[in-house]
């Protein structure tokens, strides 16, 4: 088994773990964490694709690598907005929760 394949398997395992966490963790911050973990697992798959494309003296295909860099920055931006929303919810309601019954809505 090639080392490249190993990281593919790790990436897919991480995606599975974070999907599980995304479903069962009730707190929004934990969901956010799981979502970030999910993103990093997907990025790892990109990394494996880039490594497979190693040629012309380069250790990896630079195009997927650049895509991942952009992806990490965009993921951070989204996380920053999500954290700000979550903290505002927390300061308004006293508790950050996405439980619908709490709001008295159907």
């Amino acid at each position: 088994m090639s080392p490249v394949l190993l990281f593919w398997l790790a990436g897919s395992g991480l995606i599975g773990l974070s999907v599980y966490g995304l479903i069962v963790n009730p707190h929004p911050l934990c969901k956010l964490l799981a979502l970030n973990l999910l993103g990093s697992g997907v990025f790892l798959l990109f990394g494996v694709i880039a490594r497979r494309g190693a040629s012309a003296g380069l250790g990896g295909d630079p195009v997927p690598q650049a895509l991942v860099i952009t992806g990490i920055v965009v993921a951070f931006s989204a996380t920053a907005i999500a954290v700000a929303l979550l903290l505002r919810l927390h300061s308004e309601a006293g508790e950050a929760s996405i439980d619908e019954e709490e709001d008295g809505q159907p």
Binding site: L29, N36, R51, V83, A84
Partner: protein, 311 residues
């Protein structure tokens, strides 16, 4: 030997990632997530992607981790964390997640046998830009439009975060006050480290044209220094209505756009560089971007403006 290292690293990634998913305490989960990010950047080194590794360590692990630590600290009292889900629901979720993982893992065996790669075409045209780092070449020459939009995403995110301020706090100081009083030991760090970090950030940005590094990584180091200074209370965060601050925020995207429009004049296309001037223009862009990225990242972490009395 190297394969053994990779196996241990992959298992550690899965173990630490899984730990941060199932950790009972939110703060534990976040701190484990930061450790996971550092392990992941090691994995990126093993995948021969040093640029990605630097970005992951700086932004994926450091900046995201800091955001999460602050959030976890503020919502630590929430009890909703322990909602009782039935055991059957957990099992169902686990089965579903396992199916997703197995499905994606199985894709590894149906990947096209002949790897597709753009490495050779990138290298063939790279010398025309004068850059030596192929990843920087992709970011600023071949896919510069994406990079421009990514900066706009950062700007939009900052606008979104600021929009969450209360009406009466608008225009005030961002609410990053972790220590009620000035912390003397932290103050020492905040006075000694920034000069070193400053030099390092400039080096990283400058060297990014030819070796791994660049505007994001340099900007993140600058942002980290600024946050350190703000957290230690050596300097207060500026008011978000400050014109100077806003100028720093838009400098990078504006320089990027101006150089983009300049492309209409000489080579005749948006974001095309005039022949022979590609490298100086890109370096000018990177310098402006480093400043803007540093300020935007710092402000994203500092959060929306908040009144003095509202903790």
């Amino acid at each position: 030997m190297e394969t053994a290292f990779d196996i241990v690293l992959a298992l550690l990634l899965l173990g630490v990632g899984g730990w941060s998913v199932i950790a009972r305490n939110m703060m534990t989960a976040v701190i484990v997530f930061i450790a996971y990010g550092l392990l992941l950047s090691l994995a990126w080194v093993r995948l021969h992607a040093i640029d990605v590794s630097l970005t992951e360590a700086a932004i994926g692990s450091g900046a995201t981790g800091l955001l999460m630590v602050i959030a976890a600290h503020k919502v630590a009292g929430d009890t909703k964390r322990v909602v009782q889900l039935s055991r059957g629901f957990h099992a169902l979720a686990a089965v579903f997640a396992a199916l997703v993982a197995i499905g994606i893992a199985a894709l590894a065996f149906v990947l096209p046998g002949e790897p597709v790669s753009l490495a050779a075409p990138v290298l063939a045209r790279l010398p025309e830009s004068g850059l030596g780092n192929p990843v920087a070449g992709v970011l600023f020459v071949f896919r510069s439009f994406d990079t421009l939009l990514e900066k706009v995403v950062l700007l939009l995110a900052l606008t979104g975060v600021w929009a969450l301020a209360r009406d009466e706090d608008w225009g005030g100081v961002p609410g990053l006050r972790l220590f009620p009083e000035r912390h003397s030991v932290l103050g020492l760090l905040a006075r000694t480290l920034p000069p070193i970090g400053f030099v390092f950030a400039i080096y990283m940005t400058w060297a990014g044209a030819d070796v791994p590094g660049g505007a994001f990584q340099g900007g993140t180091v600058l942002a980290a220094m600024w946050i350190l200074v703000m957290v230690a209370g050596v300097r207060k965060a500026p008011r978000v209505s400050s014109p100077l601050l806003r100028l720093a925020i838009v400098t990078g995207p504006v320089v990027f756009l101006l150089i983009g429009f300049l492309g209409f004049l000489t080579p005749g296309a948006f974001l095309a560089y005039p022949e022979g001037f590609a490298k100086p223009l890109i370096v000018a862009m990177e310098i402006a971007l480093t400043l803007s990225i540093a300020v935007i990242l710092g402000l994203l972490i500092a959060g929306p403006p908040k009144g003095e009395d509202a903790p």
